[in-house]
Symmetry: C2
């Protein structure tokens, strides 16, 4: 793991890092408490961004800083494949809509769900290994937060990664089901305490599919929170609920 | 309003009272902070029990005491028609199942939803008038908490009573829909901030009906919380959520 830059603001130290991925370097950010007296092991929450987003979108940086400040929980985000700093200059010059179309086409033609999620899970596993080797993180309990594409790849990650002990997922439904063969089984293998977010008027993730997915999760402790509004309109209260959820399950 | 008894325990004063109802006296309990220095107006939460239950069931007394102790919010519960102290000795001697059957038959033959809910709303309105006349309650903001039958009668109450500013409802679905004619319109007239509880494996209130009811509410601020489990298995965390919900909406 290479640390490329570091800054500290209002008690939170933010470090950019790069981890070696299977096909290309994986760029990420680690947020930890500034106070050097607090060494690890401490809980760590992995934050998975949504489609066309990147590791520093406002909902992720805000939740990361709150976890550090309010609970001393470390947080980390990476750019998922083809996103953020892993985008080519040519892709970066496209409009958001053209970029989104390109990403969808790539998923369809090149990979399929299993290959794509295997790559994302591999990126996260390498990242988690590297982060837990950091002195002020260590091998504490791990949480995962990710909605929309963060749930598409979060479900296989949480199903596969025994270090993850609690997860916040949601805003996911995929109209073209057959391509996600295997996803239902992955959902059944998610058994950790789970908070699942639904936007009642979600124009991207169909409500019925989201409810069906909640049904599939193998977790005995799972709660669904639904609020009116469209895909990207998660109310602030659900970020507070996410924070409280991780404090409950990772600190006690 | 007649006060019939009073006791104080761990900072909470509990007073039994009777309010004159349209057809028979309405017995109730009022919980307030012990400290006599804290006079009203203060927020008040009305707690509506479920079918075959009464004003002092454990989930109601526990939530009432927490609201008083943690937030200085007053709380009150009444026996709804044909329940608790409003039951005849003959009814009281029946088994729970026979009593439940009797209550259902009575609702069907004698009243229908509109008459039954009109009577419950009338009881609550008289109770609220009397409680707000108490010096240590006063005319502060009012909340309503009630699931199952507490939602059956809670929806018409919240729709009709402008003093109620926030409500926790849930666990309600009625298989025989036509008899609840008018209920959908009442649900649309509920416009206050709302927390709606769903038990995912509810054997009494059908999940689909509960989701459809959530859809109907006119509130722009509404959140649905769903948890695995049967009708009477609401997890403790949802009582904490109810408490936080009233603190947010009645104290700020």
């Amino acid at each position: 793991m290479q640390l490329t830059s570091q800054k500290t603001e209002r008690g939170v130290t933010e470090r950019d890092f790069t981890v070696e991925g299977a096909r290309d370097p994986v760029p990420g950010v680690l947020w930890t408490p500034e106070d050097p007296a607090t060494t690890g092991p401490r809980p760590l929450v992995l934050l998975g961004h949504g489609g066309t987003q990147h590791k520093r979108v406002p909902n992720i940086t805000s939740l990361a800083r709150r976890l550090v400040r309010h609970h001393g929980i470390a947080a980390a985000a990476i750019d998922l494949p083809y996103h953020g700093d892993r985008m080519s200059d040519e892709e970066r010059s496209l409009s958001r809509e053209d970029r989104r179309r390109r990403m969808r086409e790539r998923m369809r033609s090149e990979q399929g769900h299993e290959a794509a999620s295997q790559r994302a899970v591999d990126d996260w596993t390498r990242t988690l290994d590297a982060l837990q080797a950091q002195e002020d993180v260590g091998a504490g309990p791990v949480g995962y937060w990710g909605v929309s594409m963060g749930t598409r790849y979060g479900v296989p990650l949480v199903a596969a990664e025994p270090r993850i002990r609690a997860a916040v997922l949601g805003l996911f439904g995929w109209a073209e089901g057959p391509r996600l063969a295997g996803y239902d089984d992955e959902a059944r293998r998610v058994t950790v305490p789970l908070l699942f977010l639904v936007q009642w008027d979600d124009e991207v993730a169909a409500r019925d599919y989201a409810l069906a997915l909640f049904d599939l999760f193998g977790s005995t402790t799972k709660t669904l929170h639904a609020n009116p509004g469209r895909h990207v309109e998660i109310p602030g209260a659900e970020y507070q609920a996410s924070e409280a959820f991780f404090a409950l399950h990772l600190l006690s």
